[in-house]
């Protein structure tokens, strides 16, 4: 390729400037990815020489390890409930905040505040919130409901984790509210003239305009939920809480335990690739459905 001297100099500087990323990409991304594929095909404790086992780790995970399917089930359950529920709650709150209310800023701050709290601190707080005689069960008691042992019972630990995730629904609220305020007001005036009530205005104007933001939050939320780790690791620890551990173990804590608890590096690497596959499948499904429900303004111009 014939480049002028100036162009060549510019290209030189370009590659010099992007070299941090290129080096980081090779050392911390591409190299490790290739290594991870190789590890996943071996039996390796990371101290002795790896033993080639071909696809054995994958076949064992998929056909021979009952734990894996439970764990995958818990992960899908958590993602499939917490993410849509969080979005519905976030949307509902955003719609309330979008009304002509006093002290909107105060309400918005109070709803957003939980999302600023680091997960470790949230987990610590919810360990006490959901304790057998903690505030939640006391409140349920006032309603005449006997609250379960959220954090010990294998059937209640997943709902407990979902409750905790709902506490952070305000993150979506703020994004949705920002998008709502960008909807042209004239649309509402026109609907008003046509006699549409507030419910009809919400379903026919507000919601369609928000579908791109909802879609974005859905995809990002699903990806994050499949990778849930901190709160599961803290609230359902393997060593001290077997009941909860059996009821709530998700993919990344399993991977972590295999890699850094029992040093099954090959097996753990295979789990990582299966997790990637699961995330990819759900993302592709989400994108496939967009034509049916995601509305882009440019389409009607």
């Amino acid at each position: 390729m014939a480049l002028t001297k100036r162009r060549r100099r510019e290209a030189f500087w370009f590659y010099l400037f992007v070299s941090p990323w290129v080096i980081g990409f090779l050392a911390f991304m591409l190299g490790p990815m290739i290594a991870s594929v190789y590890y996943s095909l071996t039996d390796w404790d990371s101290f002795t020489a790896p033993k080639w086992v071909g696809l054995h780790n994958y076949t064992e995970l998929l056909t021979d390890d009952p734990d894996f399917w439970h764990v995958l089930g818990h992960t899908v359950y958590y993602a499939a409930i917490s993410v849509p529920l969080g979005l519905v709650a976030g949307l509902w709150l955003a719609n309330l905040l979008n009304k002509r209310i006093r002290a909107r800023k105060l309400f918005r701050t109070l709803i957003y505040l939980p999302t600023l709290v680091p997960l470790v601190a949230t987990s610590m707080t919810f360990m006490r919130m959901l304790a057998p005689s903690g505030p939640l069960n006391k409140a349920l008691g006032l309603l005449g409901i006997q609250g379960p042992a959220w954090l010990v019972d294998a059937t209640w630990i997943k709902p407990a984790l979902i409750l905790m995730s709902l506490w952070g629904a305000g993150g979506a609220t703020v994004l949705l509210l920002a998008a709502m305020r960008g909807i042209p007001r004239e649309l509402y005036e026109a609907a008003e003239v046509d006699g549409a009530g507030s419910t009809r205005q919400f379903w026919s104007i507000t919601l369609p305009h928000l579908t791109p933001v909802i879609f974005f939050n859905l995809v990002m939320g699903l990806i994050a939920a499949f990778q849930v780790f901190t709160q599961v690791y803290i609230l359902a620890p393997k060593a001290s809480n077997a009941g909860a551990y059996n009821g709530a173990q998700t993919m990344v804590p399993l991977l972590f335990d295999q890699a850094f608890g029992t040093y099954h590096m090959g097996y753990a690497s295979a789990i990582a690739w299966l997790l990637f596959a699961v995330i990819l499948v759900f993302t592709v499904i989400a994108f496939r459905t967009t034509r049916r429900w995601v509305f882009y303004e440019t389409e009607v111009k």
Binding site: F17, F25, G31, K99, R100, M124, T125, M129, F216
Partner: protein, 311 residues
């Protein structure tokens, strides 16, 4: 899409009779969708109260006496006010001060790394021309798809070979190589800046690095502040990285340290919940302050609007 009300609103005669272009807010706020009822307020107050309860409860536990902790007789509304718990954690009982210093070191170095590297890389992708640039940028975007778990184990092996386990280096050093999301943010920001400035500087004989350092870097302030806030928030709360790499109590950052003290209490004894909650509050308060100080910059960046562009 069925049921969508569309109209070329700005062109048609305004319902309120105001001339086109006049503020529509007043009349539009009267439409039913924006009408607040007592029910709206009641719902908001109840929701706000529920969402605030865990925070008040955490403060209440943090102010509890040791006797309350061992009986687990906490109340949501504080009944006792043992403010000394906040100084106790810095005494000989717990290494909370050490945790805090470690968190600050790791976070500050990580922020510096991301800000320095992402600015330069993002600028290059936005402004400089080179063969293979577009293909390389596609690779940058593709890396956003790869979940961290894939590279976690090989990275651990790499850092262990380098003798970096039980040091801050595995948590800090990768930040000096920037990341895809931050590169993308800077690139988007630079493309919106007028290019006459750097062209003029080039005519004046400034080299590419000179242009970056003297002209671009100061103009990138808003986006670099946003990247700084994101990096700080992420590193400050990061749990799994420190859990993998740091074994010594004296090396742990606060996020790991707080969890660590709940696992090391004497058998048969509950963890020192009051001090754990003081730690949790120390973990949360800086994030609230950072958000409060930084929200102006975040809105300036229009990060929210950017999300609507995903198709």
């Amino acid at each position: 899409m069925a049921g969508v009300l569309t109209t070329t609103a700005p062109e048609r005669t305004r319902v309120d009779g105001a001339p086109p272009g006049a503020p529509a807010r007043r009349s539009a706020d009267r439409v039913r969708a924006f009408r607040a009822t007592p029910f709206t307020y009641a719902t908001l107050i109840v929701v706000a109260a529920i969402l605030t309860t865990p925070i008040v409860f955490a403060v209440s536990i943090a102010l509890s006496s040791d006797a309350t902790v061992s009986n687990a007789t906490f109340t949501v509304i504080p009944r006792e006010f043992h403010w000394e718990n906040f100084s106790r954690v810095f005494g000989s009982e717990l290494p909370m001060g050490r945790f805090l210093i470690n968190s600050v070191i790791i976070s500050v170095c990580s922020v510096a790394g991301q800000v320095l590297s992402s600015g330069l890389v993002g600028y290059a992708f936005a402004r400089l021309r080179a063969p293979g640039k577009d293909a390389l940028f596609l690779v940058v975007l593709a890396t956003m798809m790869v979940p961290a778990q894939i590279t976690m184990i090989p990275q651990f092996i790499l850092f262990r070979e380098l003798g970096w386990v039980n040091t801050f280096l595995p948590l800090i050093v990768p930040n000096f190589f920037s990341n895809a999301f931050n590169i993308f943010l800077v690139r988007q920001f630079v493309t919106r800046l007028p290019s006459q400035l750097d062209e003029a500087a080039m005519v004046d004989g400034l080299g590419f690095f000179g242009i970056y350092r003297r002209i671009m870097f100061p103009m990138l302030r808003p986006v670099l502040i946003a990247i700084g806030i994101f990096t700080l928030t992420y590193t400050w709360g990061e749990f799994m990285g420190p859990l993998i790499y740091l074994n010594d109590e004296s090396k742990m950052p606060l996020a790991l340290g707080v969890q660590y003290i709940t696992t090391t209490s004497t058998p048969g004894q509950p963890p020192p919940w009051n001090l754990v909650m003081v730690g949790s509050i120390l973990l949360a308060v800086p994030m609230v302050i950072v958000y409060y100080l930084g929200q102006k910059h975040l809105y300036e960046m229009d990060i929210n609007g950017g999300s609507a562009g995903l198709r």
